[in-house]
Amino acid sequence: MTDTTYSLNVNGADRPVAGAWLGESLLHVLRERLALPGAKAGCEQGECGSCSVLVDGVLTCACLVLAASAVGASIITVEGIGPAERGEMTIVQEAFNDAGAVQCGFCTPGLIMAVHDLLDRHPDPSALDVREAISGNLCRCTGYGRVLAAVEVAIERSAR
């Protein structure tokens, strides 16, 4: 396994990655080398959305991207989506917390990223748009009922 050294721009900061195997996914590098375990590895096959991050503003499954191919891109993870202050939350994060959208929470970071992505593009989506937008994020605990409620709360609060 040949090791390489490169640098990724994550949450606005340049983060050197030293001695990494070239075959590592962006998800692996974020989680295991850059101490950013917010994105989760639910399937590593692009099916569950738990690893969702933004790569140059595009919602992306970090498990499907080679880390070394993301050099030069701007990567935003769940750790970087909200206010930097400890304990602060975005409107979406707060809505998830308030509306009961979180149970085990394993799907939650991915859903937070997907909902941010949706609301950035469509501030006032239809109910079916919301379902479609999060249909790439599997959740086994909630049955999505409270997740959908949280999105409604976030839309309502964003409109204020």
Binding site: K40, E79, C104, G105, F106, S135, C141, V147
Partner: protein, 770 residues
């Protein structure tokens, strides 16, 4: 109370009866909610330690084989590989198991299922570990796998313990009694997977005392600890387990998975070892819901009154026992559903095969039989010419009635009420016709004129807590200093919200808002039992309540002694210690200020009432309590393509008392989703015992586009003997949701569907009325 479909912000904190926000009965926020939405919550797979190695497991690709030899040499020769362990390296007991130790840590000479662990490696990188696994040479002599439980029943033993995990007979009433109306059917349930989102993960760190510290995602820390210690040849106190963040469980984490392997690797290398299963390995590495074949015959009077019930239930337990013994009991005891059945004969069988091991999954035996008994009830209604809902109401169990086991229902069981309240819920509004909301959704294949709508109904029930004389207990501790309470219990938080409940209990009992929940671990706490059987609210909620009550009594005694009054003169109301009405003194002190710097501590173990084993006829007071729910499903079906879309589920559930209505709603909706999955898409497909679809590409679970709106009514009839009157709520939602959906598909298509999940060909290729 009725809950509308998703809107607004339910459960804004208000005040409890005692005036402290976030107490019992409120939809208090989760203490881990903030960290979870920010991505800061540490799941077991998020952990990391200096100098850590990566562990990985080699699994048999064959369902039945003899192992002639294992050569780990080529793996050890790979740079970066620290160690390879096999059965020969297990220092203690070679076997583990949830109830009986019948499952090898590593297969030594015989392989009994495809996916059985053969060896484990520790290496400097997960990729190195994978390459090492590929380099291990195992010489297998292949055997024909026994995958049909009926053949296993009469065939050669696959294991020294034989092929029958349990054969339970229930004989109740008059075995010869028969009614004039007879309905009979055979029903099949495919193998469902719990498919929690966070794969199995752990971090093991070798300790100076020769023991090991393990952080792991599990449902039952202490049972794991005992099994790990036995296999490692260590004392239980040398194996210290702490709960890592758990990404869902649903029964699949009740059995040991990576625990022994990872500890062995850590002890062998003297270094911390991390193991995280891939999704494929997760599908192979935990037990599944038992596939079942169930025959039932009901006889009744022409007015629909059930006269007799017969059933033969065959559950495929796979290669090892896990909890099969008790799944058989549940399937048998609740086989007839929540109906009065005066005369019954049930044969329940759990059988060993070369299929993957099966064990606990949410609903635990009740799910399989509910699909069958509800199919029967619809048939019986048709045979009697009675409305299917009326037939169920006519036979519905209630307080004071008896189960098949002869046990009298001495608690609440409002079966008729959940049926009526479900039927009272509104039917769905006619929706705008959009491609995405037709059957097949994202496939966009269905033409609107082909779509047919159907409505189906089902009701189910099951027991809460362990049964048959099991001496169950849970320990909790509480410390109160200056108005800050800390509660500790080894109950596994797996997403269900026990940590929230523990805070709510402490707030209500102690009149303080600030409550910390300490980590769940084995070193300082006794067992809390398993997070399963809908038991933690009752058992560990009960333990937390008792510990908090003891602390409250100490606090009141302390304050009373400083004031020179009797403790009985004082009570906690709304965050303050007050004198009871009529007391000589007038006291009003904030709990926070009542005893500066004085700690109050208590530890309590909670037990439920004693249950009894079943006798030779399957009779006895074996169960603590029961809960029921009803579901009404509305579906749209494209009969040409065999595609089903569930449009709405309506459900009323017997919850005793809703201690956190928002959490209860989350359990109901989440359980309904698993019921939708079993009805319409979820099945582990086996071929010669091998799982063919161990991925989320091929094992489908419902997405947000598959899930219907769920409309819910909570039926609150407090359960006598239950802490706060609350029943466990996790399981009833998965029991009758599946049969309700299937009934709706039958209604839409006229096809007599007797198997779940419904596959497109079951509808599209069936003979059906035109």
């Amino acid at each position: 109370m009725t809950m509308a479909p998703p809107t607004g912000t339910p459960g804004t904190p208000g005040t409890t009866a005692r005036g402290v926000a976030g107490g019992l009965g409120e939809s208090a926020r989760r203490p881990d909610g903030g960290p979870k939405v920010r991505g800061e919550f540490a799941f077991a797979g998020d952990l990391w330690a200096d100098g850590m190695l990566w562990g990985a497991t080699l699994r048999s690709p064959h369902a039945a084989a003899r192992i002639r030899s294992i050569d780990v040499g080529p793996a050890l020769a790979i740079a970066g590989v620290a160690t390879v362990v096999t059965a020969a390296d297990v220092p203690g007991s070679a076997n583990y198991g949830l109830e009986e130790r019948d499952q090898p840590v590593f297969a030594a000479d015989v392989v009994r299922y495809a996916g059985e662990p053969i060896a484990a490696v520790a290496a400097d990188h997960p990729e190195t570990a994978r390459r090492a696994l590929a380099a291990i040479v195992v010489d297998y002599e292949l055997l024909p796998p026994v995958t049909d439980p009926e053949l296993a029943l009469t065939g050669e033993p696959l294991h020294p313990d034989g092929n029958v995990f349990r054969h339970l007979t229930i004989r109740h009433g008059d075995p010869t009694a028969r009614g004039p109306v007879v309905v009979e059917g055979t029903y099949e349930i495919g193998m469902q997977d719990q498919a929690f989102m966070g794969p199995e993960a752990g971090l093991a760190v070798p300790a100076e005392d020769g023991g090991v510290d393990l952080v792991v995602s599990t449902q039952w820390l202490h049972n794991d600890r005992d099994q790990v210690a036995e296999c490692l040849g260590l004392r239980p106190d040398q194996v210290r387990l702490t709960l890592g963040g758990v990404g869902g469980a649903f029964g699949a984490r009740e059995d040991v998975s990576l625990h022994v392997h990872i500890c062995l690797l850590a002890l062998r290398t003297g270094r911390p070892v991390k193991v995280v299963y891939s999704r494929e390995e997760s599908f192979l590495g935990h037990v599944h819901r038992h596939p079942a074949r169930i025959w039932m015959r009901h006889t009744a009077e022409p007015d629909g009154t059930i006269v007799s019930f017969e059933a033969r239930i065959v559950l495929d337990g796979g290669a090892y026992r896990s909890s099969s013994y008790h799944v058989v009991a549940n399937a048998s005891c609740f086989a007839a559903g929540p109906y009065r059945v005066p005369n019954a004969h049930v044969e329940g069988l759990g059988v060993r095969t070369n299929n993957p091991p099966c064990g606990a999954m949410r609903g635990f035996g009740a799910v399989q039989v509910c699909f069958a008994h509800e199919g029967q009830m619809d048939k019986l209604a048709a045979a009697c010419g009675i409305d299917p809902v009326e037939l169920r109401l006519h036979n519905a169990l209630d307080h004071g009635d008896h189960l098949l086991t002869g046990q009298r229902i001495d608690g609440t069981l409002p079966v008729a009420r959940v049926i009526r309240e479900t039927m009272a819920l509104p039917l769905p509004e006619p929706a705008a016709d959009e491609l995405l909301s037709r059957p097949g959704a994202a496939g966009r294949t269905t033409d609107a004129p082909h779509v047919r709508r159907g409505i189906g109904f089902a009701v189910g029930f099951k027991n809460l807590m362990y049964a048959e004389g099991y001496m169950d207990g849970s320990e909790a501790a509480c410390v109160l200093v200056d108005g800050l309470a800390t509660v500790q219990c080894a109950a596994a938080e797996v997403g269900q919200g026990f940590v929230t409940l523990a805070q709510q209990i402490a707030r209500t009992v102690l009149g303080v808002e600030r409550v910390l929940v300490a980590p769940a671990e084995t070193a300082s706490m006794g067992s809390a039992g398993s997070t399963s059987a809908s038991r933690q609210t009752w058992m560990s909620g009960g333990a937390v309540e008792q510990a908090c009550l003891a602390v409250r009594d100490q606090l009141l005694a302390h304050v009373a002694s400083t004031l020179g009054c009797a403790a009985a003169d004082l009570e906690i109301v709304g965050g303050a210690i007050r004198s009871v009405p009529g007391a000589a003194l007038d006291v009003d002190i904030a709990v926070e200020d009542a005893a500066p710097g004085v700690p109050f501590e208590a530890r309590r173990v909670f037990h439920h009432r004693v249950t009894l084993p079943l006798d030779a006829d399957g009779q006895g007071d074996a169960h603590v309590s029961m809960a029921c729910a009803a579901h009404r499903a509305v579906v749209d079906v494209d009969p040409e393509l065999g595609l089903v879309r569930v449009v709405q589920l309506a459900t009323a559930q017997d919850v005793g008392r809703a201690l956190n209505p928002l959490s209860v709603l989350g359990q109901i909706e989440g359980g309904c989703a698993q019921g939708v999955g079993l009805a319409t898409m979820e099945e582990l497909v086996l071929e010669a015992g091998k799982v063919r679809n161990a991925s989320f590409t091929d094992y489908l679970i419902p997405t947000a586009l598959d899930m219907p709106e769920v409309v819910t009514t909570l039926v609150e009839e407090p359960e006598p003997g239950a802490p706060f009157g609350a029943k466990g709520v996790g399981e009833p939602p998965v029991i009758s949701s599946t049969p309700a959906i299937v009934a709706a598909v039958r209604a839409a298509t006229g096809v007599d569907l007797t198997r779940v999940p419904i596959r497109p060909q079951d509808v599209a290729l069936a003979d059906r009325p035109r």
